[in-house]
Symmetry: C2
Subunit: 345 residues, 2 copies
């Protein structure tokens, strides 16, 4: 970005001492792209969204991301020259050092795509790439529900179960950039088949997909449920919203299965705490957003009961995520800001 | 320590620029106390040991620790005034900030015993207290088998299963000084009862105690095993040494049960790696020292198969501990040295 374009574009906002540096946060999902201008406190100044259309190919997706980013900046009544850094959260294995997406099944099987460099060229601003759930956890830990805690485990049950680990205020990426895959801890050896091909992972016991499988199994086995009135189980997914409706109606089958999944999540959470002893645990994701009131009390009660070294709940709270759909883009923006400061030091 | 005593005691070794600071490492076990003078490279300059006799009370144990420490220093032909710091690894919950043992079932149920301050008074040297398995992991990570790796998970199967986590070269103690209790991760919901009162913890599936339980169960159920010739199963424990002998003799029952325990440890190790992505995993403890050749190949094969993001084994090795019985005292000494440097900074 040239000094000139900065001057010309936004004289009136171009303070020589920035009150709050501005970042652009992007959530690149399998179906949609969300972008927003984010300040240092995680506040959103303007946003935009667009479908991903991964099937049209990498070049097209990059162009769509750039367009969405530019729209978000325009909606904030700003100029791209004011953006210090871009952070983008992407599904799959992302190498934050190189900005390369090593593998992303949800993006039409992207393999070794230099997303960071390509987007940096398109936008003219430094781009930092991160795994989406890592970014979401960092968002909650830096400016969201867990912002007053230095060490945070994030658990995000939805279609799968993603997670992230923040230690001493920093995202823990591990020795091979592969940390945080908490969803594939085996909790039930020889248990139900997981999407990953193994058996008994917590994702195979307590994700929305696992809950759907268990409900369908019981219905096929003869149990009745309001779910069959809410959706056509032959053709439609049982979404988290449908589960919430069934819970509201007091459906016994859905209640049973949600309770069991919550118990499993509690046992799992205790294992994470027994190993890592974070200052807090934050739960988010589609399933929790929809069914949190039914699930979180059971998750909490089970977790504290399964701790090997008991801690008062107020000293190790299990809290609900606060940033909702913005967690990934806000976290990606905050990570980009932290990375930029790291580069400058 | 006064300058005078330093001068008088050891003129010839009292260099004003110490080549290598000396620490005293102590392993306070339920049955015995080990003490040794340790240099910065983890080399042992002299050692001593003595029975713990916890039943005689705290004051007596502290006096026995002090005597063992003094003997180790004498055996190294040194004077206590040359010792920069004392590190002591103790079983149970140790608060390294205060030096207090909060609870130690293996030490006649010590509760809130200020071990650090008491020993410091007895020896006249700064004392740092740490949980024994944390200390052992740190020993292996700082100067033992894993010394070239910055982030290490230590797994020590014996009577129970202890562990420790080293991140970026430092012991990860967690937000409540409770990290590293990896043995109580539930791997089999509703599985066998664990010593902790819960069910299906990895300790209840793969410790020596769990293996003994399974062997006895099968023998009582009618299976034959050489174990009944090696020990009197009505009155004696099946030690790790006995298990090793039975394996050597090709005993089918012991082989089956050791193989299943090793498989469980592999699944467990994969879960730790999926979450934390360390640079290496180190396996030690009594069971591995005795039966490592039978167990480690299965642990390794299973671990790599259960990783959600495959890594070449040479990039994430699973190695055997190198310090043996000295791991705890060497690690405690190295931690004391690191803590002292932290205090001085």
């Amino acid at each position: 970005m040239s000094k000139k374009s900065r001057k010309n574009g936004h004289k009136e906002q171009d303070h020589s001492q920035p009150q709050s540096a501005l970042m652009l946060g992007i959530d690149l999902g399998g179906t949609k792209i969300l972008a927003a201008v984010v300040d240092q406190q995680g506040r959103i100044m303007g946003s935009a969204k667009r479908k991903t259309r991964a099937e049209r190919g990498v070049e097209d997706v990059i162009a769509r991301i750039a367009k969405t980013a530019q729209e978000a900046v325009a909606n904030a009544h700003l100029d791209m020259s004011l953006i210090e850094a871009v952070g983008i959260g992407a599904p799959g294995v992302a190498d934050y050092n190189t900005g390369v997406i090593e593998f992303a099944p949800n993006l039409d099987n992207w393999t070794n795509i230099p997303l960071g460099p390509m987007l940096q060229q398109a936008l003219g601003v430094p781009v930092f790439v991160e795994n989406d759930v890592n970014a979401g956890t960092y968002g909650e830990a830096s400016v969201g529900a867990a912002k007053s805690y230095a060490s945070v485990v994030g658990v995000f049950p939805g279609t799968g179960i993603g997670g992230g680990i923040i230690l001493n205020g920093e995202l823990w990426r591990g020795a091979h950039n592969a940390a945080g895959e908490i969803g594939h801890a085996v909790m039930l050896i020889d248990g139900p088949r997981c999407g990953c091909g193994r058996r008994g992972c917590i994702e195979a016991l307590a994700s929305r997909t696992a809950i759907e499988r268990d409900i369908l199994g019981e219905i096929r086995g003869g149990r009745t449920s309001i779910v069959t009135q809410l959706v056509n189980i032959e053709t439609e997914q049982i979404t988290s919203g449908t589960l919430a409706k069934a819970l509201e109606e007091g459906d016994a089958l859905v209640t049973d299965i949600i309770e069991r999944a919550s118990y499993h999540l509690g046992v799992f959470t205790a294992a994470m705490i027994n190993s890592l002893d974070p200052a807090c645990v934050v739960y988010g994701g589609g399933l929790i957003e929809a069914c949190g009131p039914a699930m979180l009390p059971i998750i909490r009660e089970t977790t504290y009961r399964y701790l090997i070294r008991p801690v008062e709940p107020e000293h190790l709270p299990i809290i609900e995520a606060a940033l909702g759909d913005n967690a990934v883009l806000v976290g990606a923006a905050m990570l980009a800001s932290a990375s930029l400061q790291g580069v400058r030091r």
